[in-house]
C-alpha cells in the first residue's frame, strides 16, 4: 500500500522543510555534522538510524527546541532564524508534534488537552470548540468516553492517540511523529500506521516520522532517510534503501527482523 499523493506541481515537488549544513552539538560532541535534508509536501518520510545517533535531536532542532551551532533550517520556504516572533508563531500553528511519551498535560482531561491550542489561537464558539475536540478524538479512534479522562487513566496506546488528536487540533500541514508506534502491540501499531496513512490522505498532511518499526516503514512511508554519523547516509523509497551499500542500512533492512517483515508482506 503506497500513497501516491501528488502535489499540483509537476516535476519537482514543493519542499516544506529544507535543512542545510546543520550542525548540532553538546559540549565537545558534534551530533549533526553538516546535515542536509529535504521534506516534500504531502509525503510521509520515515526517519531511521541507530539508537543514540540523534534522530530525536534532528527533530528537536527543526522544531527549535535545541539550539543549533550552524546551518539553516527553512520551513515553508522561510528561514526560521530570520523570522519575527509573530511569524514564527504562525509557523508553529502549522505543525503538530506527537512526542514519544505523549506529553499530554497531566492536569487536563483529553478533551481539554485537545482544546489547548484551539483556545490559545482560535476564536471559536464553545459549541464548535467542544464539537471539534470530540471530532478529533473520534478521528484518532478513541471512544467518546475517553474525552473526559485524565492522561493517568489512559493506556499507552490511548495516550498516543490522544496526543495525536492534540497534534491535529489546529489542522496542521506538517506532523512530526517521534516513534509513534513504540510501546504499542503489533495490532495497535498496525492500526496506528493505518490511521496516520488515512489522515495523511484526507488532510493532505506532510508527515515526518522517526521510527524503528520496519512495518511502519514498509506500509506507510513514501520515502525513508537513514541517519548515520551525523549525516544522511541514504534516502529514497524502500527499494532504493534495500539496494543501498551502506553497511548499517544493509544490516538494518536485510537483517532477520527485516526479512520477517518483508516475508509477511508477500
Amino acid at each position: 500500500m503506497k500513497n501516491d499523493h501528488q502535489t499540483d506541481e509537476p516535476g519537482d515537488q514543493e519542499v516544506v522543510i529544507r535543512v542545510r549544513d546543520l550542525e548540532v552539538g553538546f559540549g565537545e560532541r558534534l551530533v549533526m555534522k553538516k546535515l542536509d535534508l529535504d521534506v516534500y509536501r504531502g509525503e510521509i518520510l520515515g526517519f531511521v538510524g541507530p539508537s543514540g545517533q540523534g534522530k530525536s535531536v534532528l527533530t528537536r532542532a527543526v522544531l527549535g527546541l535545541i539550539p543549533k551551532r550552524s546551518g539553516t533550517i527553512e520551513v515553508f520556504g522561510q528561514d526560521v532564524d530570520k523570522l519575527s516572533t509573530e511569524r514564527r508563531r504562525g509557523i508553529e500553528q502549522r505543525w503538530g508534534v506527537l512526542f514519544q511519551q505523549g506529553a499530554l498535560f497531566s492536569a487536563l482531561t483529553v478533551r481539554q488537552n485537545v482544546q489547548v491550542p484551539m483556545r490559545e489561537y482560535l476564536k471559536l464558539s464553545d459549541r464548535l470548540l467542544d464539537e471539534l475536540a470530540m471530532l478529533k478524538i473520534e478521528m484518532v479512534g478513541l471512544k467518546p468516553d475517553a474525552a473526559d479522562k485524565l492522561p493517568s487513566e489512559l493506556s499507552g496506546g490511548m495516550i498516543k492517540r490522544a496526543s495525536l488528536a492534540r497534534a491535529l487540533s489546529l489542522d496542521p500541514e506538517i506532523l512530526f511523529l517521534d516513534e509513534p508506534t513504540s510501546g504499542l502491540d503489533p495490532i495497535g501499531a498496525g492500526e496506528f500506521d493505518e490511521l496516520i496513512a488515512t489522515l495523511q490522505r484526507t488532510l493532505g498532511l506532510t508527515v515526518f516520522m522517526v521510527t524503528h518499526d520496519l512495518d511502519s516503514l514498509y506500509t506507510v512511508c513514501n520515502r525513508i532517510a537513514a541517519l548515520g554519523d551525523g549525516r544522511i547516509i541514504a534516502q529514497g523509497p524502500m527499494d532504493r534503501m534495500l539496494a543501498s551499500d551502506d553497511p548499517w542500512v544493509r544490516s538494518y533492512f536485510h537483517g532477520k527482523r527485516a526479512r520477517a517483515a518483508t516475508a509477511a508482506r508477500h
Binding site: 515553508f76 520556504g77 464539537e131 471530532l135 478521528m139 493517568s152
Partner: protein, 382 residues
C-alpha cells in the same frame, strides 16, 4: 511557495431566485478563518429559512480542513432537520473525502450532575472523616511494617544497610544543621527580646532567663526542629519514594526479592530518629545563645549572670523533656512521608499533591503530638 494566510477569507455568496437558494462558497474554509466560517454559514442558514431547496456550490473553495468540513456538514444536517432539501455540489475529490471523513454526528454534552448543596456538605464531611480514619489505620499498619522490618534487620544485622543510613544522616542531619541553627538562633533572640520588654514593666527582667530557658528546652527547640525537618526531609522522602514508585523502581526491588520497606524506608526512618534529637539539641543551644545575646544587649544581663541563673532555674528534666519528644516526632514524620510517597500514582501532579500533603500532615501531627506530650508531662509532673 509562500502562502499568505490572511488572504482569501471564506465567503458565501447567496442568491435567491425561483424557489431555491443558491450559494457559492469560495476562499479558504480553514481554522485560521474559524470565525468567518461560522459567520458565513450562520448567514446562509438564516437566508435559507423557510425555503424548500438549497443548493450549495463548493467548487470554488480553495482549501478545506476538518473545521470547515465539520461546519459545512453540520449545516447540511441542520437543513435536513428543518425539512430543507440541501444539495452540496461541486466538491473536489479531496474535499469530498474530507467531508465523508468528518460526517456530522451530534455529540451529547454530558448531563451535569446536580445534587442538593446540603447533601454535598454531608457527603464531603462523611468522606473526609472516613478518609481520616483510613489514614490513621494505614499509619498504624505501616508503622507495624517498619517495626517488623527493623526487627528482621536486628535479627540479621548483615542485612542492615549501613551506607544508606550514613547517607541519609548526612542528608537529614548534617546538611540541615546550618538552616536549623540559624532559625533557632533568631527565634531565641525574638523570644528573649519580647520577654524582656514585657517583664521590664514589673521590674522582673531577670526572669527572662527562666522564660527563655524553659520555653526553649521544653518546647521550642524540638518543635522548631521537627517543623523544619518535616519541611526539609519529609518532603524529600515523599518525592524520592514517590518518583521511584512512578518509575516502577519499587516494583523492581520487589521482584528481586528485596523488601522496599527494609531497603528504602528503614534507613530513612532510622536516620530521622537518630538525626532529629541531635538537631533538636543543636537548635536548643543556638536558641539559648540567641537569648543570652539579646538578654545582654537589651536586658543588661551579662553572659555569666545568664548562665548562673539558667543553671539555677533548669534541671536535667527540663532538658530531657525536650529531647525525649524528638525521636517520636521523627517517627511521625518518617511514617507519614513514607506513606505519602508510596501512595503516589502515575502522574507528576499526584507526586506534587502527595509531597504537599506529607508536609502538611507531618507538621500538623508534630504539633498535635507535642500537645499530647505537654498534657502527659503535666500529669506525671515531670
Amino acid at each position: 511557495m509562500q502562502q499568505d494566510t490572511t488572504a482569501e477569507t471564506p465567503r458565501a455568496e447567496i442568491d435567491r431566485t425561483k424557489g431555491a437558494t443558491r450559494a457559492w462558497l469560495s476562499g479558504r474554509w480553514t481554522v485560521e478563518h474559524a470565525g468567518a466560517v461560522e459567520r458565513e454559514m450562520a448567514e446562509l442558514a438564516s437566508a435559507a429559512e423557510g425555503e424548500q431547496r438549497v443548493i450549495v456550490d463548493l467548487s470554488d473553495i480553495s482549501r478545506l480542513d476538518t473545521l470547515g468540513a465539520w461546519v459545512l456538514d453540520r449545516t447540511r444536517h441542520e437543513f435536513g432537520q428543518n425539512g430543507i432539501a440541501a444539495d452540496f455540489v461541486g466538491a473536489r475529490s479531496e474535499h469530498h473525502i474530507l467531508l465523508n471523513e468528518v460526517a456530522y454526528r451530534g455529540f451529547q454534552p454530558e448531563p451535569a450532575k446536580r445534587r442538593h448543596q446540603l447533601v454535598d456538605v454531608f457527603a464531603d464531611t462523611g468522606e473526609t472523616i472516613v478518609l481520616a480514619g483510613k489514614d490513621f489505620a494505614r499509619g498504624v499498619s505501616f508503622l507495624g511494617e517498619i517495626v517488623t522490618a527493623l526487627l528482621r534487620v536486628i535479627l540479621m544485622p548483615s542485612r542492615f544497610r549501613f551506607a544508606a543510613l550514613v547517607n541519609q544522616l548526612d542528608q537529614i542531619a548534617f546538611r540541615g544543621v546550618p538552616i536549623i541553627v540559624l532559625i533557632s538562633f533568631l527565634v531565641g533572640c525574638i523570644v528573649a527580646q519580647q520577654g524582656i520588654f514585657q517583664l521590664q514593666r514589673f521590674g522582673a527582667q531577670t526572669f527572662v532567663v527562666n522564660l527563655v530557658g524553659i520555653l526553649i528546652l521544653r518546647e521550642l527547640g524540638v518543635l522548631l526542629t521537627s517543623i523544619m525537618v518535616a519541611g526539609r526531609s519529609g518532603s524529600a522522602f515523599t518525592a524520592e519514594i514517590g518518583s521511584m514508585k512512578m518509575r516502577e523502581e519499587i516494583d523492581a526491588l520487589r521482584v528481586m526479592g528485596l523488601d522496599p520497606v527494609e531497603v528504602l524506608i528503614v534507613p530513612r526512618v532510622l536516620a530521622l530518629v537518630i538525626g532529629l534529637p541531635i538537631l533538636a539539641f543543636l537548635s536548643a543551644m543556638a536558641a539559648l545563645t540567641g537569648g543570652a545575646l539579646v538578654a545582654w544587649i537589651y536586658g543588661d544581663i551579662p553572659p555569666d549572670a545568664f548562665l548562673a541563673r539558667l543553671k539555677a532555674t533548669i534541671a536535667m528534666n527540663t532538658f530531657l523533656v525536650g529531647l525525649i519528644k524528638a525521636p517520636f516526632m521523627a517517627l511521625v514524620i518518617g511514617v507519614i512521608s513514607s506513606i505519602e510517597g508510596v501512595a503516589v500514582e502515575g502522574s507528576a501532579e499526584s507526586l506534587g499533591h502527595h509531597v504537599t500533603s506529607a508536609v502538611v500532615k507531618s507538621i500538623f501531627m508534630v504539633i498535635v503530638l507535642d500537645g499530647f506530650f505537654a498534657v502527659f508531662f503535666a500529669a506525671v509532673k515531670y
